[in-house]
Structure formats: C-alpha cells, structure tokens
C-alpha cells in the first residue's frame, strides 16, 4: 500500500507550517494556471487548423471573423472544452476517492467497472425503455454506475485467490468485459442506437450536447457535497478499517458516503463523455507526487489535475493524428495503460 497518511500527529513548527502554506498556495496557483492553459490550448488547437489570430478574433469580435470560424470555435471547441473540464475534474476526484476507499493505488472508476456500468445502463435504457431525454440518460447512468460498483465490490469480497489489489482490478476488468459484451450485443441489434452512439463506446468529448450539462448539474453538486462530507474520514480510512473505527469513525457510513460520491461523479462524467478509463487512475498519483504530506489537499487537487489531463489528452488526440482525430478515450488509454503497468509493477514488488 502506498497511500501516504503523512500528516504528522504533532503540531509542526511555525517555520514548517509557513513552508507548507507557501507550497499549498504555489501548487494551487500552478493548478489554476495549468487549467487555464489547457483550456486555452483546447480552444486554440483543433483537427481543422485555424490560425491563432483568427481564434482570437472570434473570441474578441465574432462579427469580424467568418461564420465558419465562429461555428468551429463556439459550436465545437468551447463546448468540448467545458465538457472536458467538468468530466476530467469529476473523474479525477472519483479516482482519488476510489483509491482512498479501496486502499488500492490501481483503483479507478473506469477500471472498477463503474463507468462501463453507467454506459451499459444508458444503452440498455435507450434500447428497451425507449429513453431519449438527457435527464433520463443521466439517471440511467447513475443507477448503472451504482449497481456495477456494488456488484464489483460484492464479487471482489468473495474472491480469496488473490490479494485485495489484484482482486479489485481483476473483478473490475471481468465486469467491464461482461457489460461491454452486453452493450455490443444491444448496440449491434438496435440500429437506431448504433447511429446515436457512434463513437460513444470509446469515450469522446466531441459532439457532446451541452444540453446534458443542466441534467448532470444536480449529480455534480451531490458529488461535491458527498466528497466534502466524506473529507474528515480519509486519514482514518488510509490506516485501515479497524484503526479508523478505533479513532471513532463510523466506517460503514464513511464508506457508503464515499462510494456514493464515486458513483455519482463517475455517472455524471460518463453520461456526457462515454466510458473513460485511466483519468481517475492517473490524477491521484500526480496529486500525491505534488503533495506527499497533505492527503486531503491531494484528493481535492485531483479535480484540476483530472481536468488538465483529460483536456491535454483530447488536444493531443486532435494534433497528433494527421487526418481526423483520436477519440479522447483512445488517447487516455494509450497514455494510461503504460502508467498502469508501471504502478502495477511498483505495488506488486
């Protein structure tokens, strides 16, 4: 287990405290700048090359720029940037919560099967219940995320063949494979879904309607509230269930709140982007590298880090490929899979 619980029990000296506050301010400022830079890059670069001066003209004076440029910037790039910021932040925090609650440095809503549960539920809802309104998708995603997350934890709890880290990842992979096969079967036998869900199964930010945002807003709000309520529980959970109970925490309640927060945040992100893995895995590791001695701040820091990672992956996917673009789900998997292997090697030492 590598989750540091690093807060010293004794009060640190004033010098260290000032040092830490400075560091916190510095990192917060850097995170804010990084978020703004990645958002700017996401608006500036695209698969259709457009000179930077023209992008600026569109932003300053839409009337002066051509209508096509306005359509590209305001109609495509800005919406996908907003979607990327929100989904990345939600996935980053969900990943951090998953790693805290399962005490597993390889946990991630995508790897735990939560996002594929959300995706499967949306597809099944469209096919069998005839759902077509954004709000209905979001509720479907939430129910699917919660059920698949619960299923993974239930099955993992009964597997004795491997230790907890491998068991959770393996169970998540099995559940994702099963739900993926079921989703494929539904999509291929219902042509109307095939059309509306083209590319959705790989996860993408493009062509996402912003009309989903009001529908996921309550979920995001609930996710933020649950995360903040859960905040005092983390130092105890990092020590293990027994010690947390010994510290006077109600472990069952803490765990329920935390897992609800994961489901809510992952469902919100999946509803607007499709299933995305690895953002939730990477963000907490980056955050812990930056803030090794402040576990709570590190979890909160995963929001900007997740947003930056997702936008960076999306911009890379647009720039690297010579024609067309790479769906962000493919880009995050290409970046995330090697990192997953590195972390897996480190934790199975």
């Amino acid at each position: 287990m590598t989750i540091p619980s690093g807060t010293p029990a004794t009060a640190p000296g004033t010098a260290t405290r000032r040092h830490r506050r400075l560091r916190l301010t510095l990192i917060t400022a850097t995170a804010a700048v990084a978020v703004m830079l990645s958002a700017a890059a996401s608006v500036a670069f695209g698969s259709q090359p457009m000179p930077l001066s023209q992008v600026l003209t569109v932003l300053r004076d839409p009337a002066a720029a051509g209508s096509e440029a306005v359509a590209v910037v305001w109609g495509l790039r800005i919406p996908r940037t907003i979607v990327g910021l929100i989904a990345g932040a939600a996935l980053g925090v969900a990943g951090a919560l998953a790693q805290v609650h399962t005490r597993n440095p390889l946990a991630d809503p995508g790897l735990l099967g939560v996002t594929s549960g959300a995706g499967f539920a949306v597809i099944a809802g469209m096919a069998f219940l005839g759902l077509n309104a954004p709000l209905q998708y979001v509720w479907c995603a939430l129910v699917g995320a919660a059920l698949s997350g619960a299923l993974v934890l239930l099955i993992a709890g009964r597997i004795r063949a491997f230790g907890p880290i491998t068991t959770i990842v393996l169970t998540g992979a099995i559940t994702s494979a099963l739900l993926g096969a079921a989703s494929t079967a539904i999509v291929l036998t219902h042509e109307e879904i095939m059309r509306s869900f083209q590319g959705w199964s790989t996860g993408a930010l493009v062509n996402r309607q912003l009309d989903l945002l009001p529908a996921i807003a309550p979920l995001l709000a609930a996710g933020i509230v649950l995360t903040l309520v859960n905040l005092p529980a983390w130092p105890g959970l990092a020590l293990g269930d027994e010690l947390a109970a010994g510290l006077g925490r109600n472990v069952a309640a803490d765990r329920t709140i935390g897992i609800s927060a994961i489901a809510v945040l992952a469902a919100a992100a999946t509803a607007i982007t499709g299933p995305l893995a690895f953002i939730g895995l990477l963000s907490p590791h980056v955050a812990r590298r930056l803030m090794p001695d402040a576990p709570i701040a590190a979890v909160l820091l995963t929001a900007p880090i997740g947003a930056v990672l997702l936008l960076a992956a999306d911009v890379l996917g647009r720039v690297v490929v010579t024609h067309g673009e790479l769906p962000v789900g493919v880009a995050t998997a290409l970046i995330g899979a090697p990192v997953f292997v590195v972390i897996a090697r480190a934790v199975t030492r």
Binding site: V169, L170, L178, A181, A182, T184, T189, L334, V341, R345
Partner: protein
C-alpha cells in the same frame, strides 16, 4: 499452483480421470461439435437438409444448395474450428507453463497485440504511422504472429521479478491488453479498411468478415507449431509436473519453456488474423477440458477440442439467435466470464498477493 480440482491452486485431491473418462469426454465434445457444425452448414436463409450438406461437403453435389454450403457457410465453420483449436491449445500451454489459469493469451494481451499488428497490416492508408509502411507489406498472419510475440514478450518481461508471480502477470497483462486495444481502435478509426467490419465488431472478435484467402497460410503455420508441440510433448508433460524433476531428467528447462511459450503465443496470435481477438476461448476452453477430463493440468489436445466446440456453438448462437449476426466474441464472453468467476470464487487459498 497447477490448476486442479481446487480451482486456481493445488493438484487435484480427487482421483484423476482415467483414459476411459478422457476418451468418453472427447467423444461427447466431438459429437456436440459435429452437430453444431452441421447445423451451421444446413440452416440459414436457405435451409439445406443434412443429407444435402453431407453430399456438398463430400463434393458429390453441385447445385445451389452445394454453393451455399461450401462457398457461403463453410468458411465460417472452418474459421471457427481454426480459431478454436489455436486458442484452446495456446491457452492450455501458457496456463500449464506459468501455472496460472489466468495467464492465457486472451487475458494478458497477446491476442490484443496480434490484432493491432493485423489491422496495421490490413490498413491501406499510409498516412498513419511510419512503422506502418513496412508492416503493410507483411502478410496478415505473419504480422499477427509478430504482434502477438511482441505483446507476449512485453508482458513476460514487465511481469518478471525473480519469477512470474501470478498476480503480477495478471495485472501487467491487463494493462498491456488495454494498451493494445486502444492502439487497435486508433488504427481502425484512421485507416481505410475496405471490407473490414466496424471497429466494434473487429475488437469483439467476429467471423462475419472471415477471409478465406489466409486460411492456407494460417493452417500451415498452425501445422508447423503443432508438429513442434508433438516433438516437445514430453518436455511439456515434465515441465507441467515439476520443473526440477524435468531438469534432473536431462531437459534443458529454460530452452524448453521458451520454445513452448513461443509456440503457444504463436498459435494464439496467428488465429487472431482470422477472426480478431476472440475473448475468453483461450482462457475457458482448457479449464472446461480440465474440469471434464480431470487431467493433471489443462490438457492441450482437450483444450483444442473444447476450443473448437466452443467457437462452433458460440458462432451458431451469434448468427442464429439474434435478429442480426452478432460478433462471435459476444457469445464467447458470455460463456467464458462465468467460467472465470466460478474458478475465482471456488479457490479458497491465495495464489498471489
């Protein structure tokens, strides 16, 4: 940790199945396979009665029915058998050598790597990557072979730390699998692949677009590997039993392990060129054969037989039970995943941390 009657761990405490049991089980599976092969050949948009199918297969008839059977339906059946035999045998060998039922080529990313290389070779667009220009010149089965060997060596090298601990092989393999899956999506999304199904179908593993022109070269590579396996049969039996005893009996252990692993990875990789990365056959077929035949470890011939039967039944179900033909991989997942869960849940002692 050889999989036995206690799930993931330990030699079977139950009595081993005798030769009679193995022959009987093989006959039952063989009959099921023949029945589903005949059903696949005879039913469809045009029903051809079974005697007509037999005549067409034997080349005694030359009517429309014969055309439907030999030209339209036989390629699927032959493809299913080739893929099933290759995956089943490959899974049995890797599971035996690594003493880990989860170390099968479809779980640890070997077939994913093979399919990435196969789609690179199939892609006609040259603007994709610089490496693609020379891969595109390779025949698809050879490209798949190379891709599978690269993925397999990657997993083994990255998972190696004073031995191949089962849990590390599984974790590293899942990561490599995800990486190559994403790479395949990339190629499929950005290359012009005339005649190849949508990325969804190819990534799931499907016989819908089976290409008969590569059957001969795939069958040739499989035949060479099978001859090699027959020659290495005693080595495999001893390595499976006990590595130290094998060494004491004069077997060059590292060389034997390496050659057998290359043979297994090669088998799994080359059949991926036929139908894409069909999931869970290489994992489940040897385990089903092991449970039914009660052999000491996952049987190679038994795994190949069960693999072929699994592919034949799954493809029949995929094509006939749904309104439009599903990729066979959907059904093999539905068969293989319960086997995997059953195996994991009945293992009570830990095989890895």
């Amino acid at each position: 940790m050889t999989p036995g009657s206690r799930g993931l761990r330990g030699h079977g405490s139950r009595a081993r199945g005798g030769l009679t049991r193995r022959v009987l089980v093989a006959c039952v599976f063989g009959c099921v396979g023949i029945v589903f092969a005949l059903l696949s050949l005879s039913t469809g948009d045009v029903d051809v009665p079974i005697p007509g199918v037999v005549r067409a297969v034997l080349g005694l008839d030359a009517g429309t029915g014969s055309f439907v059977v030999t030209e339209l339906r036989a390629p699927r059946v032959i493809g299913a058998i080739i893929v099933g035999v290759g995956l089943g045998a490959a899974g049995a060998i890797t599971q035996s050598l690594l003493r880990n039922p989860l170390a099968s080529p479809d779980i640890i990313g070997v077939t994913a790597g093979a399919s990435t290389a196969a789609v690179l070779a199939l892609a006609s667009s040259s603007a994709l990557l610089s490496v693609q220009s020379w891969i595109a010149g390779l025949p698809v089965p050879l490209a798949a072979l190379a891709g599978g060997l690269i993925a397999g060596s990657l997993v083994l090298a990255l998972a190696w730390r004073r031995g191949l601990a089962p849990h590390r092989v599984v974790l590293v393999g899942l990561g490599v699998n995800a990486g190559f899956g994403a790479a395949t999506s990339w190629v499929l999304l950005h290359a012009d692949l005339p005649g190849l199904a949508s990325s969804l179908t190819w990534l799931t593993g499907s016989l819908n677009q089976v290409r008969t022109e590569i059957f001969a070269s795939v069958a040739l590579i499989i035949a060479i590997i099978l001859v090699l396996l027959v020659l290495l049969g005693r080595t495999l039996a001893l390595l499976r039993y006990d590595v130290r005893i094998a060494g004491g009996l004069g077997i060059h252990v590292p060389r034997g392990q390496l050659m057998l692993l290359i043979a297994a990875i090669g088998l799994a990789a080359v059949v991926t060129a036929v139908a894409g990365p069909v999931p869970f056959v290489a994992f489940a077929a040897p385990q089903i054969a092991l449970a039914a035949m009660r052999t000491e470890g996952p049987p190679v011939a038994g795994g190949a037989l069960v693999g072929a039967v699994m592919m034949l039944t799954a493809d029949f179900a995929a094509v006939r039970l749904f309104s439009s033909a599903l990729p066979v991989g959907v059904i093999t997942s539905f068969i293989g995943i319960p086997v995997l869960l059953w195996l994991l849940l009945r293992t009570h002692r830990r095989v890895g941390s």
